[in-house]
Symmetry: C2
Subunit: 368 residues, 2 copies
């Protein structure tokens, strides 16, 4: 009966608004999840509010409370993270909670789709960035010394492992196949992409021949050792020319896979191409857990004013559902968002509009 | 007498075309230097050809021959470097000659002006990127291990020193003052920049609190400890949001100072804004030596076809002169290039034209 199905589909989502506009966009995403039409197979959501962030650190001395981690692990199937403020000066003991969350929950791939909506942007693009999410300079092994002349010298370790590179590479090739399947369902006339699926490997092995050399070889071997990826093209770009080409010919890219820091930079760059960081979602994906997270920051300058664009967070809720296995609910969210964007009437100031966070959220909910 | 003056102004320039289109654009830059009108105070050039590059490595087993370094040090006051090809797979013993050159000659600041020419680009910008040029991940201290499960794990060291950060910071503030002085000579109506000079510090100290923390504090202290920079504004950007903002509001930036790798990425991104990498020059500047170098690569796909845009190399020759103290000769080159770009008739394929490398070079020489 329905009760049993509902039972089966109970999904508990941890909500971690964190700082600044995170407190406005996470409630917006929650409202959208709650407004999804209820069918026999759709999830029944429960939400729990969890703390984290720089402001939490300032009040309580800890940026990612142990309780948040424990409850995520024990009670939740997924989470939505808002945004975190960056201290404007060195703060002893502070460390970014989102970086810690990725590490503690082994969320090894950061999946960042950046696509234009027909009729809203100049450049047409439909790119999926897979950012390795656990290592590179993000391992935060740093040290500082004083040299013979009394001057400071600091070092950071950049780690690239075969293990993490392979997982990121597999995610990239799997997503390329998945996207290809979805595209084949779209009428040819409406397709931006006509070609074969492709994975572009980003690296800087002309300088970092050992670390980025390992990254490149490992990702390449994912395709070379698995015939199921035979139909997926593979190419590569040095990170500097990636940024250049992305701006000149964004339509040349399908799936882009990059080590952590390059992925961070590239995804902000791609966001500029679709008109606003307020549009770009991400999912931090592991084998057992997913955390949706808008790519934008906490935007302290507009926080608390209902000016924040909720779309990145709402799309992140869609990605969360998609990676939890609720593809049709996710598609419903994407379509509702695209509908509002295409209509172009209700938009927040980042897109040149005057609507509030709530207006945009309501408009999306109406279309679900 | 003239002979003595000519003697005094003798300038020996090492020409290092290296790979690919480097062999077309360096001769173009040489032709421009030779075509400069000769006045009593203008330099008398001598050129010596020097080897380096990936192709040289493939033939002779060395990418930067000892002789090239010795002759640069012993006979030259400056040099022009073309471009270097990146191996498409791991090549034992190969290491980038331009990175080695920067290190051996202690060329600690890479100065990269990116400006639009009125009437040629959509976005108006006039930015000077100062890229720290000796450390960060470019120290190439890498190692690889095998873990307990037989999988490879690689590490690279990222070095940030107070010493190098201060030198880069000083260059940034000095250039901000210099640009302000030059701007004040331009009629107000023609000025893109009306505001105070500004230095933007790029970092990622929300993750790399020790290394980028040291970078940020050191560059800040350059201004804070020297009253001559009181009139220069200072702000900062995280590297990811720098790339985003640069595309959204490039007019918000004057001088931008960045650690080595971020500077590499940002300058390619900025090049996309002015329409082509083929337009963007750089100078690798030390206290005793300057190497001009176009920001573009060796472009093997168009090499040898007279399709390469020589402007980046020609402007790099201008930068070389500027940093060697020949400001008026440099200005003459910049104006000739701007004239050709503004006219918009003679342009290489990267700018949508059909002219050859030689056509563009001749057109510039005619305007000198
Ligand atoms: C806040 C910061 C640590 C984070 C990152 O660099 O990963 C952010 O920029 C992001 O992209 O999620
Ligand atoms: C060729 C490469 C080593 C070099 C760099 O990364 O510095 C190039 O990209 C540049 O910008 O001069």
């Amino acid at each position: 009966g329905l009760a049993t199905v509902a039972q089966l589909n109970k999904v508990t989502i941890g909500l971690i608004p964190a700082d600044g506009i995170g407190r406005e966009v996470i409630p917006a995403a929650r409202q959208v999840l709650e407004s999804l039409p209820k069918t026999e197979s759709s999830p029944r959501f429960e939400f729990i509010h969890l703390d984290a962030g720089f402001e939490h650190f300032q009040k309580h001395g800890v940026a990612l409370p142990e309780e948040t981690l424990t409850r995520l692990r024990g009670e939740c199937q997924g989470a939505l993270f808002g945004a975190v403020s960056s201290p404007s000066h060195k703060v002893a003991g502070y460390s970014s909670p989102i970086v810690a969350l990725r590490k503690h929950l082994d969320l090894y791939a950061n999946v960042r789709p950046v696509a234009s909506v027909a009729g809203t942007d100049q450049k047409q693009l439909d790119m999926l960035i897979i950012r390795e999410n656990t290592e590179c300079l993000y391992i935060k092994q740093e040290r500082i010394e004083t040299d013979a002349k009394g001057q400071k010298v600091a070092y950071a370790d950049r780690k690239i492992s075969e293990y993490a590179s392979r997982r990121a590479g597999q995610m990239a090739f799997n997503m390329a196949l998945m996207r290809d399947k979805l595209r084949s369902q779209v009428p040819a006339s409406e397709r931006l992409w006509q070609d074969k699926p492709k994975v572009t490997i980003v690296h800087k092995s002309n300088v970092l021949s050992v670390t980025d050399g390992l990254w490149r070889e490992t990702v390449r071997s994912v395709k070379e050792t698995n015939s199921k990826y035979a139909g997926v093209d593979m190419d590569e770009q040095l990170v500097d020319s990636m940024v250049y080409r992305m701006f000149r010919e964004p339509e040349a890219f399908d799936v882009v896979v990059a080590p952590n820091l390059y992925g961070d930079i590239i995804s902000d760059g791609a966001a500029a191409l679709v008109g606003s960081l307020g549009l770009v979602p991400s999912a931090n994906v592991g084998d057992h857990f997913v955390v949706g997270e808008p790519v934008h920051g906490s935007a302290p300058d507009i926080a608390g004013q209902q000016k924040a664009n909720p779309i990145a967070a709402i799309r992140s809720a869609g990605l969360l559902l998609e990676h939890m296995g609720y593809a049709s609910e996710a598609a419903r969210i994407y379509q509702a968002v695209d509908g509002v964007l295409r209509e172009g009437q209700i938009k927040t100031p980042d897109l040149g509009g005057k609507s509030t966070t709530q207006d945009v959220t309501d408009a999306i909910c109406k279309r679900l």
